[in-house]
Every structure is written in structure tokens, then in C-alpha cells.
């Protein structure tokens, strides 16, 4: 084992370890959320994950973006088989370890990877054009200004660089193979990189070997760096999409969660002889003021969001110029959760009140009151994120804790309470329609 292999193993362990460290932190942040049972109906959960996450069924609702995404997704998943070989080669100092084991099938695999790498580059270039040159409203909305836009372009750039390193590595490798250089065993088929050999054909053998090594290292270190970029990026969806869809809401979308704490109180109000509920240690809060008051699933949703904006582009409020954007609801939730997480890190594991909250400091009442609860955002999300449950939880806080609904809604509440109808009609007149002329 040479120095090169030891450096490789250290890089691998450091990259993997750092990633594990950051993921643990994110899991801790998600666990700050309120309890919610999403482990029932396991068979249905596996099915929906297979269909929606693995099978991309909601992505292809928009065919152009869906097809391009499919290329990158399939490319990413399948080319990663190659990463396994790269890792083993790196550890043992071998070259194309799998070639002798797989024979002709190895050629087929490498050929497929090359075609996929080319398709990934093609799709990524189109994505870049869609984001930056063509006017597509959902990629130009104000919540993407600054870091989110740069994040998106950076991901595209990294993908092009990784795929280019892979293809040029193969281009130099096959010239080295043809020159019969030791260590470079004859293996693989190169439908794409064979077109790039012209660039390198005049290079010396030493130069080619150096490029091949640099590209190899760039490819694998790039992947490790990219892995560690994920927890800071919207691109984390490539991992979280799967658990997020697995823990989807399987009930009818129209059902809004029941608040048990309210049920206990209402039962007492209607029947004073009923047994009061067991007092709990936690003070009862009605609705959500900050991220810790949301369910853990809402927090997982926020980390899963890749800011594609399909929710916002299908939102009736956003389409008609209101302040509400379901995507911004998810992004602000994640931003606040990250802030809370850093607060906890800085204060030895306990959150210290920073005088801020998700409601008001991040999400305004005006955004929340623009929602029609139509579920278009929930329907549109390719990874089953539910912005509506955050909106309702925050509305509950506005109404039940802060008594601050719009005046018209207060009037509606009074009518329901006094007349049993949202309008000011007498309950005694409920059946009048039956006697009026048809």
C-alpha cells in the first residue's frame, strides 16, 4: 500500500465522517419538532416511496423538466456504481478492479456510464439555460435572490465538472491503454470519451498519466466534497426525498389534524362532569409560533425542499400577486430551524431565547391569511412536502394564542358561535328554504 492509498483512505474517512457529523445535527434539528405518528401502514409507505420517490411519478407531471430530471437522476444513481470501483481502486491501489471480474459486462457498464454522463451534462446545460436565460417565473421569484440562486447554479456547475472529469479521465485512460502502458489494463468501451481522445493524442505518456490521475482524484474528491455540500444546500433532496415520501401523509389531503389538547378542553366545557385529562409537564400551546412547535415532519419537509417552486407556481394566491409563496414558507422554516440549531450548538445543547420566532420574524401574517387551503401546493410537490400544515399551525397561533385574526374572520367566528352559521342569520330560519317558492 503506497502513500497515495493512505491519503485516499484518510480523505474517504474524513469526508464520510464529516458528512455523518452534519447529518446527525440535522436529525437532531428535525427531532426538535412535535410528535406525529407516521410509522403506521408500512406497506403503503413502501409503495408510495417506490412510486413517488424512486419512480419520480410526480416529477413527470411537467414533462420537460420531468424528463430532464430523470436523466440526471438515473445518471446520478447508476454512475454511482462506478464510484464503488473507484473507492476500492483507491484503497487497494488497483486500476479498474472490476474489469477482469466482469469481462464483457464491464465494457457494457462503462459504455452506459459514459452515455449517461453525456446525458447528465446535456440536461444540466438545459437546466442552466432554464434557470438563467429563458424566463421561467418560478426561477425568478424573489425568494431565490442571493444564496438560493447561487446554490442552484453551483450544483449545476459541480455536476458538469464531475462528469467532465469522468469523461476526460476515460479519454486519457484509453490512450494509455492503446500505448500499452503498464497498469492501464485494456478494458471498457468508450462511446463518448473516444470522441475526446483527439484533445489528448499529442500528449506524452507522462502527461497523460498525470492528467488521468488528476481527473481520477478530482472526480472522487469532488464527490466527497459534494456529499458534504449537501447538508448546506437545497440539493439535500437527493437523499431526503426518500424518507420524506416514506413518511407522507396517507390520509385524505382535506383532513386537517385534530388538536387533542383542544378536544380535552372542549369536552370539559360541554360536560363539566367529564374527567379532566392528566396534567402534562409541557405547557399546552395552541398552534405554532416557532419551528419547535411544528411537527417533525414539517421540519423534515423543510430540509427536503429543493426549491423547485412547483408549489408556488400552482398557488392561486401567488398567481394573483399575493405575498404568499408556499416555497418561501418551506425555505423560511429551514432558515429558522438552522438558526435554532446553531443557537443550540453555541449554548451547549440548550436553546436560549433569541427574541425571534418563525411567525412574524420569518413568516408574516399577511402571507398566512392569503392561503385558500386549496392543497394545490401539496399536490404539486414531487416529494410530498406539505406547506399547508405549517400554514395552518401558524394560523392557529395567530388566532388562539395571539387573538389576531383579520377583523372579518373575528366577525365570522362570532356568527358561528352565536348563530351556528358564518353569516348573521337566525338559526330559527334554517329550514325556511323548504317553504319558499322553488
Amino acid at each position: 500500500m503506497g502513500v497515495e492509498n493512505i491519503i485516499f483512505i484518510i480523505a474517504l474517512l474524513a469526508g464520510g465522517g464529516l458528512f455523518a457529523f452534519n447529518v446527525r445535527k440535522i436529525i437532531r434539528n428535525i427531532r426538535l419538532g412535535k410528535k406525529l405518528n407516521r410509522t403506521d401502514r408500512q406497506a403503503d409507505r413502501w409503495k408510495i416511496m417506490t412510486r413517488v420517490a424512486l419512480g419520480q411519478s410526480k416529477m413527470v407531471v411537467r414533462p420537460v423538466a420531468g424528463f430532464l430530471h430523470l436523466l440526471v437522476y438515473v445518471g446520478f444513481v447508476i454512475i454511482n456504481l462506478e464510484v464503488l470501483e473507484i473507492i476500492l481502486d483507491g484503497i487497494f491501489g488497483t486500476h479498474r478492479l472490476f474489469a477482469p471480474l466482469l469481462g464483457g459486462f464491464y465494457d457494457f457498464l462503462i459504455g452506459s456510464f459514459e452515455i449517461l454522463a453525456f446525458l447528465v451534462i446535456f440536461a444540466v446545460v438545459v437546466f442552466f439555460i432554464r434557470r438563467n436565460i429563458i424566463y421561467i417565473k418560478r426561477f425568478r421569484q424573489k425568494e431565490l435572490n442571493g444564496w438560493p440562486k447561487n446554490d442552484a447554479n453551483l450544483i449545476l456547475l459541480i455536476e458538469v465538472l464531475l462528469m467532465s472529469a469522468f469523461l476526460t479521465m476515460n479519454a486519457t485512460d484509453q490512450i494509455l491503454q492503446s500505448r500499452g502502458v503498464a497498469h492501464y489494463i485494456e478494458a471498457g468501451s468508450y462511446p463518448v470519451s473516444s470522441m475526446l481522445t483527439g484533445i489528448f493524442s499529442s500528449w506524452s505518456t507522462e502527461g497523460l498519466m498525470m492528467y488521468e490521475r488528476i481527473a481520477w482524484w478530482f472526480h472522487i474528491l469532488g464527490i466527497l466534497a459534494f456529499l458534504n455540500y449537501l447538508p448546506y444546500s437545497k440539493h439535500f433532496h437527493i437523499i431526503l426525498a426518500f424518507p420524506n415520501v416514506f413518511y407522507s401523509n396517507l390520509e385524505a389531503k382535506g383532513r386537517i389534524s385534530n388538536m387533542k389538547a383542544v378536544t380535552d378542553e372542549v369536552k370539559l366545557m360541554l360536560d363539566p362532569s367529564a374527567t379532566p385529562p392528566e396534567p402534562s409537564d409541557e405547557p399546552v400551546k395552541f398552534g405554532a409560533k416557532d419551528v419547535q412547535d411544528l411537527s417533525w415532519k414539517s421540519l423534515l419537509d423543510s430540509y427536503t425542499c429543493t426549491e423547485c417552486g412547483r408549489c408556488t407556481s400552482s398557488c392561486p394566491a401567488n398567481q394573483t400577486g399575493k405575498l404568499l409563496s408556499p416555497r418561501a414558507i418551506m425555505m423560511k422554516t429551514r432558515d429558522r430551524l438552522e438558526e435554532v440549531g446553531k443557537n443550540i450548538d453555541a449554548n451547549k445543547g440548550a436553546f436560549v431565547d433569541d427574541g425571534k420566532s418563525l411567525l412574524h420574524d420569518y413568516i408574516s401574517a399577511e402571507e398566512l391569511w392569503a392561503c385558500t387551503t386549496c392543497n394545490a401546493c401539496v399536490e404539486a410537490c414531487p416529494v410530498n412536502i406539505d406547506p399547508l400544515s405549517i400554514i395552518v399551525d401558524l394560523r392557529r397561533q395567530l388566532v388562539m394564542e395571539e387573538s389576531a385574526p383579520p377583523a372579518a374572520l373575528n366577525a365570522m367566528f362570532t356568527n358561528v358561535e352565536n348563530n351556528g352559521a358564518p353569516w348573521q342569520f337566525s338559526p330559527a330560519d334554517r329550514l325556511n328554504w323548504a317553504d319558499e317558492d322553488a
Partner: protein, 261 residues
């Protein structure tokens, strides 16, 4: 047709029980436009010989707008009182012409002790037509262009897109779809308690956006299945000054009219 509407209390007093409870809802009870839909539903039930009852003055708001506006207390107060009344009478099956009531009764009452088999009026009309308990021919709708606006709380919220379309298909009309239809349908703007407040600041009203989409198809009728959508689309048609050319009608009204009830 003369309407004979009986309350659940009267069935109970006579020691009888009806086949189904017709949950009229607040709009259906008080809003002048929605009351016409209520009567159309009652006529259809009567024509099909369905033994139905209403709660009359014993009915109260399901609590849907309160819940969606964040007032869970008020919602649960309403829900528990309604459930107490219905459970006392042993209600098993409910039909309603309001998708908001439908959703709340079907999805949110069970957890509070109200377990009922709840159907939307378009689903019931569909089965009455399928079973031959009522018959329609196209009538005045034959050959006319009709587009259907999906109510969010029937469609996306509960996955029912076909029943209203199947009922409309019996009218021999030309059913045309808006680009945003079914799971992709655009809200009328009234859900989530928006019906009871002014819209937040923006550059357009949601109902105008939706009605423009419908009007672009040049329909004779915009069919709806919800009293709030009915109001919003009717207002949208007025906004576009098309009320002399385009009608906004609930599917129940269309069936009652086509069946000459």
C-alpha cells in the same frame, strides 16, 4: 314539483328512520343562490324516492371555516354539538351539496366520535342515475358547451374528480375541460375561510383569474359543485360582464332542470 321536506325529528317522532340525512349546510340554508341548489337536491331525492331527512333548526355550522382559519376551539365546539345531535338520532349516511361540509364530516368528525358514511351530492346523483332511480335526457343542455370547475375540497382534498363529470355526461352536452382541471384545478378563491374576508393585497382576484380561464372556452354553462365556488364564479362572470351569455349552475340544478323537476 311540490317539496315535502321532513326533519329527522319528525321521522323520529313517527318511529321511522330515513335512508339518508341531507346535510344542507349554512350556505344552502341561508344564501339565496345556494338555496336554489338545496331545493334542486331535495327535488332529485324526492323524484328518486329517496327517504331523506334534514336536521332543520338542529343543524349548525360544521365548523369548517373556523378550523381552517385556525380556531380549533370553535371548530371542535361546533363538531361535538353536531355529533351529539346526529349520534342521538343514530345517523348513518349523509349527503351534502357543500364540499366543505362533506370534507369536514367525512374526514374530521370521526376523530371526535362522529362516524358516518358521507357522500357529496354529485356522488349520490351519479349512483341514482346508475341505478335508474332517476332518468335524464339532455333537455336544455343538449349539445351545449359546458365546463366543470372542480371544487378543491371534493377534488384534491378527497380525490373525487369523476362523479361530477359522469353526471354531466348524461346531459348530452359538450363537456370541455379547462387547462387547469382535476388535480391541477385552480381554486375559486373562497376556501380556507377566504369566503368571509377580503383577499390580501395582490394584483388580481383569484375568482377573476379562474373565471377568465373558464370564459376563454366560450361555454354556455360553468358547472360547479360547491356553494362557494358558485358565488365566486358568478361574481367572476359578472365582473367580465358575461352574465347574459354564460350561466353558472350547480350540477344538481342542471340535473333537476333536465329531468323537468
Amino acid at each position: 314539483m311540490e317539496l315535502k321536506v321532513r326533519t329527522l325529528a319528525s321521522y323520529n317522532a313517527a318511529g321511522e328512520s330515513p335512508e339518508i340525512l341531507f346535510w344542507v349546510g349554512c350556505a344552502g340554508s341561508f344564501d339565496d343562490r345556494a338555496k336554489k341548489v338545496t331545493k334542486a337536491v331535495a327535488k332529485i331525492l324526492q323524484a328518486a324516492d329517496v327517504k331523506f331527512a334534514v336536521l332543520g333548526t338542529e343543524e349548525s355550522c360544521t365548523g369548517d371555516p373556523a378550523k381552517r382559519a385556525g380556531n380549533e376551539f370553535l371548530f371542535q365546539m361546533q363538531a361535538m354539538q353536531n355529533i351529539a345531535v346526529m349520534n342521538e338520532y343514530g345517523v348513518k349516511k349523509i349527503v351534502t351539496a357543500c364540499p366543505h361540509c362533506f370534507n369536514t364530516l367525512k374526514n374530521e368528525y370521526p376523530e371526535l366520535g362522529g362516524h358516518y358514511d358521507v357522500v357529496h351530492h354529485t356522488q349520490l346523483i351519479k349512483s341514482l342515475l346508475d341505478e335508474g332511480r332517476i332518468r335524464v335526457e339532455g333537455g336544455i343542455f343538449k349539445g351545449k358547451k359546458i365546463t366543470f370547475h372542480d371544487p378543491c375540497y371534493l377534488g384534491r382534498a378527497n380525490g373525487e374528480y369523476e362523479a361530477p363529470r359522469e353526471v354531466l355526461s348524461k346531459l348530452d352536452a359538450e363537456l370541455i375541460e379547462m387547462k387547469r382541471c382535476k388535480s391541477n384545478g385552480l381554486c375559486c378563491g373562497a376556501g380556507g375561510a377566504q369566503m368571509f374576508k377580503e383577499a390580501e393585497p395582490g394584483d388580481k382576484e383569484v375568482n377573476v383569474e379562474r373565471t377568465e380561464e373558464a370564459l376563454a372556452l366560450n361555454p354556455k354553462v360553468i358547472a360547479v359543485g360547491c356553494p362557494f365556488c358558485n358565488t365566486m364564479m358568478t361574481d367572476g362572470v359578472k365582473h367580465a360582464e358575461k352574465e347574459s351569455e354564460v350561466q353558472v349552475l350547480d350540477i344538481a340544478e342542471m340535473i333537476a332542470s333536465a329531468a323537468d323537476l
